[in-house]
Amino acid sequence: MSAVPYTQTTHVPNKLGVLVRRTIETLVLPLAGIVVFLVLWSVAAQKIDTSLGKFPGPAAVYLQFGALYSEHIIEREKAAAFYKRQETRTKERLAQDPGYAPKLRAYTGKETFLDQIFTSLITVMSGFLLAVIIAVPLGIATGLSKTLNTAINPIIQTFKPVSPLAWLPLVTMVVSALYVSEEPMVAKSFITSMITVTLCCLWPMIINTSVGVAAIDDDLLNVSRVLRLPALKHIQKIVLPASIPMIFTGMRLSLGIAWMVLIAAEMLAQNPGLGKFVWDEFQNGSSDSLSRIMTAIVVIGIIGFLLDRGMLQLQRFVSWDKASASR
């Protein structure tokens, strides 16, 4: 039988074709998705009328981004003027009252949107890191000891589903009672928000760490036994590296939860971050309010996305198990 002749229909992939296909996958498709979403949003927004004005569409949100940024610039200028005035006044006072101990005071004006973003980020990272410090050792302990795990597990499972809004009043009262000082380093609202974040994002980390530790290959544990590794070395050289993928998965989950919880906690504790921004705008009820709230929502979403991606990159960097860090 003769060989089948080579025809034009036989597809030979060329470099250009591959490049085009990859561009479509990574750039064009997501962009198309975003554009379609924007159009749908715009149309829907036109149709919804609330007592505070029309539901904000993408154009309104875009305008508010600009407005918030220019407000930020103006506020920075005011702050610069404030510091200049403070300098002048301090000099005058020292001239008249040499015994005066001058202090440099922070600008007393309002925080700008960018300041609030920064505050939110600091608060969430603090609460998250506090949770890591508590959860990872606790998770390792419960992973290593079945007895401890059985004892603690019911408590973990009971506290896991509790919403931050339920914790807030208690945390506020406790912080008020315990954190008393004439010149506090950080505001009470910051501590309250931070602790609420910690309380809510502890649980996924404890559980994932515990599972990661308990699920270590028996063979690896046997290697450690044969080598007679002392307990701390065992944890440092075997347990931790082996469970890092699971620990990081837990951390990623927790960070996502922490960010969500933070916004709610800020709203109620009045920590000057994005949550407070949303609440204040709602209270003001100005015609810009809904657009600004929508702007904040977009920013909150983007930051949450970036936090997650950042954590993923960190996980990939640290983890030896490529499979767990692939999504």
């Binding site: 290959d217 063979d219 690896l220 046997n222 290697v223 036994r225 044969v226 080598l227 007679r228 590794l229 070395k233 050289k237 075997i238 590296p241 082996a242 890092i244 030896w320 198990d321 490529k322």
Partner: protein, 283 residues
């Protein structure tokens, strides 16, 4: 030859929900220095249990293990283990895996340079010099097992315990590994207990083959001395009469005397049920 390992009337019982399960009954064995002993038997006959008891990973219910005159009940680097699934730490390179063992055993006595030399020597022994800084996920199964052996050897154990070390490898790789092992054995003259399923492997490598009866309450059935001259060459032995005889002895033990009973209970073959595709009912 001095018996350095004395396995003395070991019984092993495992607690189960339906009562204690006797895995081993009165297992006794003496092993001399420099001897290569294979442990062979059907699956589930307790070979791994014996090895784990010698390694100290299990505690015998009765009886004990004495190494160099001292009873051992805990794991330790003097009874290094090579696991069936290499058990390399996936986040360390080959070098670092061996280094972990070396540091743990010799960290206090040797300098960093001395240890580095020792590690490289051991990796050289298993022909892994070229890949010593690669991670386990970057090397093949055979190479991983070599590193596992290197790690065990680097601990300078009194006795090397190998639990079906080549069981997960393909036939060609297995052959290479066996040759490597014989090479190392000739050089280092280690005392080795190796568990295997492979009859050829047992005859090729060992000085003695310990054949175990079936479980439960398994014990040592027969011990077959292998007096083939070393160095043993695979191809040459294929046509060696003694080799063939020894092989036959082992097979006989396994398949006649210790046949695993899986007989058909009834004379009748089961009736095949009607299970045809439905025919197209033409009008």
């Amino acid at each position: 030859m001095q018996p350095i390992l004395d396995i003395s009337t070991i019984d092993m019982e495992f607690p189960t929900p339906s009562g204690p399960f006797t895995a081993l009954k009165e297992v006794s064995l003496r092993i001399n220095k420099g001897e290569f002993v294979s442990l062979i038997g059907h699956s589930g006959c307790g070979k791994s249990t014996v090895l784990n008891i010698v390694a100290g990973l299990y505690q015998a219910t009765r009886g004990g293990v004495v190494l160099n005159g001292k009873e051992v009940s805990e794991p330790g680097p003097e009874r290094a283990v090579v696991f069936q699934n290499h058990s390399l730490l996936p986040w360390l390179s080959a070098f670092e895996n061996v280094e972990l063992a070396v540091k743990q055993v010799f960290g206090r006595d040797k300098s960093k340079a001395e240890m580095k030399e020792w590690i490289e020597y051991n990796l050289h022994l298993v022909h892994m010099d070229h890949a010593m800084h690669k991670r386990p996920d970057e090397i093949s199964g055979g190479m991983k097992q070599r590193v596992g052996i290197a790690r065990a050897l680097a601990m300078q154990p009194e006795i090397l315990l190998m639990d079906e070390p080549f069981g997960a490898l393909d036939a060609l790789t297995r052959a290479h590994m066996q040759d490597s092992l014989m090479e190392i054995q000739s050089e280092l003259k280690n005392t080795v207990i190796m568990i295997t399923h492979d009859v050829d492997e047992a005859v090729l490598l060992s000085d003695r083959i310990v054949m175990m009866t079936n479980g439960p309450a398994a014990t040592i059935g027969e011990i077959l001395p292998v007096n083939l001259e070393r160095p043993r060459e695979r191809l040459a032995l294929a046509s060696d009469a003694e080799y063939t005889r020894l092989r036959a002895d082992v097979l006989r033990f396994l398949y006649e005397k210790q046949r695993k009973v899986e007989t058909i209970q009834t004379e009748q073959k089961p009736k095949k049920p009607k299970f045809n595709k439905t025919e197209n009912k033409a009008a």
